[in-house]
């Protein structure tokens, strides 16, 4: 983590009332949207812990939907997020649930996009507007939105990691952190690569040519 700076103290500029339950919730929605990589059409949203208990008064539901629609935490349309969702054709359904051993401010999104992609994203708002994505589909991950990030869903076969890193190295992209997780040996694996540089479409196209790849998504850092 970078050393604290003046804009961590006087900031963020945000729509209230709560940095964790409102601003952080917007950022969680935004990260989920980026991970879906598509315009969301359906969102089942499960609120856990304090999000479920005090979310209504903090506008957590509005904030999560605002993020799914691509709004930032300082967007003054956040209070009208439900109307904007209706206008944009995003259907939402909220429920309260126990997401297990997670942070008290946690949420799970089951998303379906315009192109038919589906993804499940689990995330937590850990205070001061900071967030962590802790799950993508059935895979545990840890994303904070600090770096440009590559999310790859692929078959669990030897050499995949080497191919990915070779393509990134050829493009002069430095890897900050990389994690591979899988359901069980030889099935589907998820690779998350946090990078120092942005990845351009040409490199994405190269990665897309890998036969073992099921899906590749880029997630730009949160502002």
């Amino acid at each position: 983590m970078a050393r604290i700076n003046v804009f961590d103290i006087l900031g963020p500029v945000m729509v209230g009332p709560s940095s964790s339950h409102t601003a952080g919730a917007v950022r969680l929605g935004l990260m989920a949207r980026k991970i879906l990589g598509d315009e969301p059409r359906e969102a089942k949203i499960i609120l856990h812990g304090s999000f479920a208990e005090t979310g209504k008064g903090h506008g957590t539901d509005l904030a999560l939907v605002a993020g799914l629609l691509g709004m930032l935490p300082d967007d003054e349309r956040i209070p009208q997020a439900m109307d904007v969702a209706a206008a944009k054709g995003l259907k939402t359904a909220f429920s309260a649930g126990d997401l297990g051993d997670v942070h008290p401010n946690s949420v799970r999104f089951d998303l379906k996009g315009a192109a038919g992609y589906e993804v499940t994203v689990l995330g937590s708002s850990i205070g001061g507007g900071q967030i962590e994505i802790r799950g993508i589909d059935e895979f545990p991950v840890m994303l904070r939105g600090d770096y440009p990030t590559l999310v790859l869903l692929h078959q669990d076969l030897p050499g995949v990691v080497a191919q990915v890193t070779a393509i990134l190295a050829a493009a002069q992209i430095n890897i900050a952190e990389m994690r591979v997780s899988r359901e069980k040996k030889g099935t589907v694996a998820l690779t998350v690569v946090e990078m120092d540089q942005n990845i351009d479409p040409a490199v994405m196209a190269l990665l897309g040519k890998m036969p073992v790849l099921k899906r590749a998504m880029t997630v730009d850092p949160l502002v």
Binding site: N5, V6, I9, L10, V15, S18, T54, G57
Partner: protein
């Protein structure tokens, strides 16, 4: 670890304001030009002042219905020339309330240092700015002073109510506002430290007990009382009154007290005002 007294020392050595020293330090830390950082802080100040303006006119209530319209009441009485405490303090009270009400109503604010304490700095700074007719640039610089103190508090203690109670949020906001007010009003670097120390000492032990877990009761009105205490601390320091306990030791004490607070008094809405019969009733009507 950052110490506020290091900033005071650097300011004295370089014969500069603390705000200027903080800005310069951030230029190397963030690898941006001083102009870029200054303009970003100016944008923050304008959001703060816009929130004051919006909040003073606001009659609507928050989502919960617990708050709203109080800033306008105080402002009306002030404009009617009826203020008990005088124009300046009454203005600070109304403005701090205004911004905190905008926050509760899902309006746009600057967390300073948190959303729950966002009204203190705008309330104090706008009031001091008017008192001396200071140009906007001076106020922006005072925000860097406030942020310099906030960074020291964040490193030595905490700014989160969930960790340190309300003293960490409103107490820190008030100390930051006091230091910024002194610098804006032409005080010395030492005087900014005394103002902040005197102010923070008045908040030691203050618990975080939000009714129904919402950033409204008692948070909104505490923004107003904190703005007045910040101006009180600034007034004393500008007159040469000194804090017997140095600022950094006061900050360390705040951290220690925060750790001694039981969990029920740290933003969990399980103790304090949140556990009163009335608060329980409110919570039931909201769920």
């Amino acid at each position: 670890m950052r110490a506020y007294m290091d900033l005071v020392q650097a300011a004295n050595q370089q014969k500069k304001k603390i705000g200027r020293v903080v800005l310069q330090e951030q230029v190397s830390e963030l690898e941006k030009t001083a102009e870029e950082l200054f303009e970003r802080m100016r944008a923050n100040l304008r959001v703060m002042y816009q929130a004051v303006e919006t909040g003073l006119k606001k009659k609507e209530h928050s989502l919960s219905g617990l708050s709203g319209g109080d800033a306008a009441k105080v402002e009306q009485r002030r404009l009617g020339g009826q203020s008990l405490v005088g124009d300046r303090l009454s203005g600070a009270i109304a403005r701090a309330l205004a911004v905190a009400e905008v926050n509760a109503g899902m309006g746009k604010i600057v967390a300073a240092p948190t959303a729950g304490s966002c009204g203190v700095l705008p309330g104090v700074l706008l009031t001091v700015q008017e008192s001396g007719n200071y140009p906007e640039e001076e106020v922006v610089l005072a925000l860097f002073t406030a942020a310099g103190l906030g960074m020291a508090v964040a490193e030595r203690a905490t700014l989160a109510g969930a960790e340190g109670g309300c003293q960490a949020e409103i107490g820190s906001a008030a100390a930051m506002a006091a230091a910024a007010a002194v610098e804006l009003a032409g005080g010395t670097p030492e005087e900014t430290a005394h103002a902040a120390a005197i102010t923070m000492k008045s908040f030691l032990g203050l618990v975080c007990d939000p009714v129904a877990g919402l950033v409204e009761v008692p948070c909104i009105k505490r923004n107003a009382t904190a703005a007045v205490l910040a101006l009180t601390g600034a007034e004393m320091a500008l007159a040469g009154v000194k804090s017997a306990i140095p600022l950094d030791e006061v900050i360390d004490t705040m951290a220690l007290i925060g750790r001694q607070l039981p969990c029920s008094l740290r933003e969990t809405a399980q103790g304090g005002l949140a556990a009163t019969p009335t608060a329980r009733k409110i919570q039931l009507t909201l769920s």
